[in-house]
Amino acid sequence: TQCLCATTGVEDEAATFQQEHRHTGRRRDNDREKKRKNERRRKRRASKAEEAGDELPERSEKTDKSRRRRAKTDQEPKTGVKEDGEQFKVKSEKAAKSRKDVKNEKNKKAEQEEAEAGERNAKGKKRRESAQKDEKEVKQEKVAVNKKAQKVKKKKHKEVVETSSEPETSEADGDEEDDEEKEVRPETLSAEELEMLKEAVDERKKLIQSLRGKPWPMKKKLVTLRESQKFVEKYEGALGKGKGRKFYAYKVMMTKKWMKFQRDFENFKTACIPWEMKIKEIESHFGSSVASYFIFLRWMYGINLILFGLTFGLVMVPEALMGRPYGSIPRKTVPRAEEASAMDFAVLWDFGGYAQYSVLFYGYYNNQRAVGWLKFRMPLSYFLVGVGTVAYSYMVVIRTMARNANESGVGDDNSFNFSWKMFTSWDYLIGNPETADNKFASITTSFKEAILEEQESHKDDNIHLTRFLRVLANFLVLCCLAGSGYLIYFVVRRSQKFAIDGLENHTWWERNEVNMVMSLLGMFCPMLFDVISALENYHPRVALQWQLGRIFALFLGNLYTFIIALMDEINLKRDEEKIVKFNISTWEAGLFNGTLWENSTAPPVTIQPADVPRGPCWETMVGQEFVRLIISDTMTTYITLLIGDFLRAVLVRFLNYCWCWDLEAGFPSYSEFDVSGNVLGLIFNQGMIWMGAFYAPCLPALNVLRLHVSMYLQCWAVMCCNVPQERVFKASGSNNFYMAMLLVILFLSTLPAIYTIVTIPPSFDCGPFSGKKRMFDVIQETLESDFPAWFSRVFSYASNPGLVLPFILLMVLAIYYLQSTSKSYREANVELKKKLQMQNEENKKKSKRAALKAQLDLEEARKAASQNTEQQKNNSGSLQDLEVDEEEKHCTSHRMRHGKNERDHPSPGGDKDHQPAATRAPVPRTYHHDVRGPPGYLPGFPRQSEPRMSRAPSLQRH
């Protein structure tokens, strides 16, 4: 009412007056409730009536003071006289209505009275002495909680409000707690009240749980937490009666203990994650992309550990423990010719000699069907472990990929490109000046890139030149790839020649040529590609992908050249095998003939197993090659690390004192941690493991060792001699890229392994499958001898093409079906997302319009109301009071700026009310529901004492 007639000149005065006025309304509201209670109490306890009546004015004055202080309008102290006048009016209104509550609330009322008295005394003293700011805040908060609680409960039950607000107010100050304790005797509470109490307790519990997510100051959180805990502790036991009560208390106690245990267990679990602290430390120095490499490494380590467990537990250990001991049969003995040098370090290092004739390699295993007293089916186990290794790897990789895709699939839209760059690109973890500098640089470049992309100013000044250069670059890269492929092929062929000649009469270089050449190529070709890619003038992100793709191709090419050369060698060995086989038969024939001729009664000739001629055993050869490759690869990695990183860092660091230019900033500088290269290396290493694991069961073990050492070595190297890379690419986005590469590698590496297993017959005198035509015959054999006859018959039916082909067809159909459904789901998802967004915007517009309308309505109503009676004015005042309350609390600063506007249009619900409320979240939000006005409300209407109740739902409608 006042605001409309307020001119700019007397604005301040008017505002003060208005506030005061609203304030009156508010206070009356509160008083009204109290009066109601008082009245009821008076009826019950007639003897005390006079006393309470005397108390009343004084009390209302006190509460009035506190309210006023909260509203920050202390100018005009109220007198109790006026209150009294109002009291009776309200009383008569309310008395009839609330009578039915009386019975239920008998003891409640009594204790509330006590509580309030105590509170009053305590508050009065305390507050007058020290009206501290935070205390005030706490109070405000409590009021908010009260209101919230009320709102929820009033819908259900009138009384609930009383119960829930009663203990809370009593909790407000610790002083009166003692008084109350005496009053609350659970036995005296009715079932209904217990229910309410339980609800209140649950409310508090919820509050405790959600407390961490509340944007309050720590002090408030602490106070609220303590209070709520106290409350919960106090009343939890009161719930339930007799036996049930004890049980309830016990249950509560156990829940607490269980929760504590869970928390401890969580902590324990985090403490158990290996290298977690190391990785976190790196992450905070180098950002998340470097850390992602180490996480990948750890993941890989985990997989290898499981592979190792499989091969070690099911293949190596049974053979070593239960199989025939070393030296019992030819395949388990070092041949006579090699015996002299079998223990030399050079030979062992090459995995020849004793290493070759041990559980580490395929050839050592016996083809005995069952070993030991357990009747362990050794060959079957060997075969199944080989298959299981691959199957497990597939499963893990695909599952991880799916999970990653799930995670990244959520925030896939690019609609907030600039905003995200603006608000989330800085990594708050960064604590290292160099990293910070790089981050600044990379953010700047990313902004520039984005701007360029946005402007879409394809300044194709010379598209032909660019095209030509790109073609040239690709041509050069192809040449490089072909050259490296040929080099490897050439080297492998040469090494075969050397091998035929015998390794002893060649130098170390000639013996290790293949591995060295491969490692060197892997080291230098990427650099070459990097130089070449400068020609292309691609966008850095695209360039990085090209680079990764090329390196991938190089590695792959090298690997496959290696495999092809290996196949050649296998064929050679098999030819050799044929000759040996023939020789052996003649040798045996000669042996037996000789014994027969000489003396038929003489004891049979015992031949030392070392003397028995034997085949070349190509499987062991393949295994050896892979092991050597892994070893040399590991060595190269470590040595590059030591020289390229450590030595360089040392030189740069210490030579800098006596050098003519700044080494640290200038040319050599410190090396960066090359995430993509390292990840690629890791992936290829894993590929070799998968390829070779069948022929050398020791490979997973070796790899575990390697990864373990790598972890420590690289962690150390990164921390001590690397600088963060300049070209930062996001870890989250590229994760699945790596996984996809891993999957490709897995597929490509299982291909040759499966090919050899399926097509090449195993050697005749070594390995678990010797004597069989094909390795997988072991399955057939098991089926026939270890399973009942019907089973193998069923199996043979099931495996006939007539059944298998339809089955495959069915699977293809299922895949097709699933794929198309997932596609349609995705589309539906996108559609829904769009719709949601549309609706959001629509809602916003609508609510804005509604708010505007409400504002207009309100102003009109005010105009009308200004001509009305005093009472109506007061009623409308109560609404304004609420509003002022909120504004005063939360928009002080806001108000300073927009003060004028606010005073001109003190309408509830406008945009201005909305915004500050949102920034402060929950606390204001409760108000926000209250205040953002119902459009249809008119002050002239007869109103209830609690305006929030009737209004809360109206918000939900629009």
């Binding site: 608000f423 000046p433 902004f447 806001h894 949102a918």
Partner: protein, 144 residues
């Protein structure tokens, strides 16, 4: 600075922004200011704890969003207006973008995220944008 005898003592911002966790952060002053009661960056112990609890890994996304908004709101008017964005951008890039580029980026940002069309970002806009950001949680935390 005797905490045991005077638990209400406050640490000036100059000391806090120099701790290693914040030293490199371009928004360090804003962080400290938005967690302080007086807006000047003087932190009491409780406020200090508050700051690191919000920036901890386990703090929920909504809470982080609220304080992120406060941090980026330079002039404390509860809106991210163009000036705020310009300041943020200049801090992020060490002022290496030209004024035109800054202008463009700010405009694009507002255009993307502003849903109610008032040419500035309210908290609702900000929250809507930030809850979809894939990196917000992983970058908006400090480990101590």
């Amino acid at each position: 600075m005797d905490y045991t005898n005077d638990p209400e003592c406050k640490i000036p911002p100059a000391l806090i922004v120099n701790m290693p966790e914040l030293k490199e952060n371009p928004f360090r002053n804003r962080i400290v200011e938005s967690f302080s009661e007086d807006g000047q960056g003087n932190l009491s112990f409780n406020e200090f704890v508050d700051m690191f609890s919000v920036l901890s890994e386990t703090a929920p996304r909504e809470l982080k969003a609220i304080y992120a908004f406060k941090i980026y709101d330079y002039n404390v008017d509860n809106y991210l207006c163009k000036e705020d964005l310009e300041k943020t951008l200049n801090k992020l890039t060490k002022e290496e973008l030209t004024p035109e580029e800054v202008e463009l980026v700010c405009e694009k940002t507002i255009e993307e995220a502003d849903l109610d069309g008032d040419n500035k970002l309210s908290f609702a806009d900000f929250e809507n944008m930030i809850t979809r950001a894939p990196d917000f949680l992983s970058t908006f935390h400090i480990r101590i």
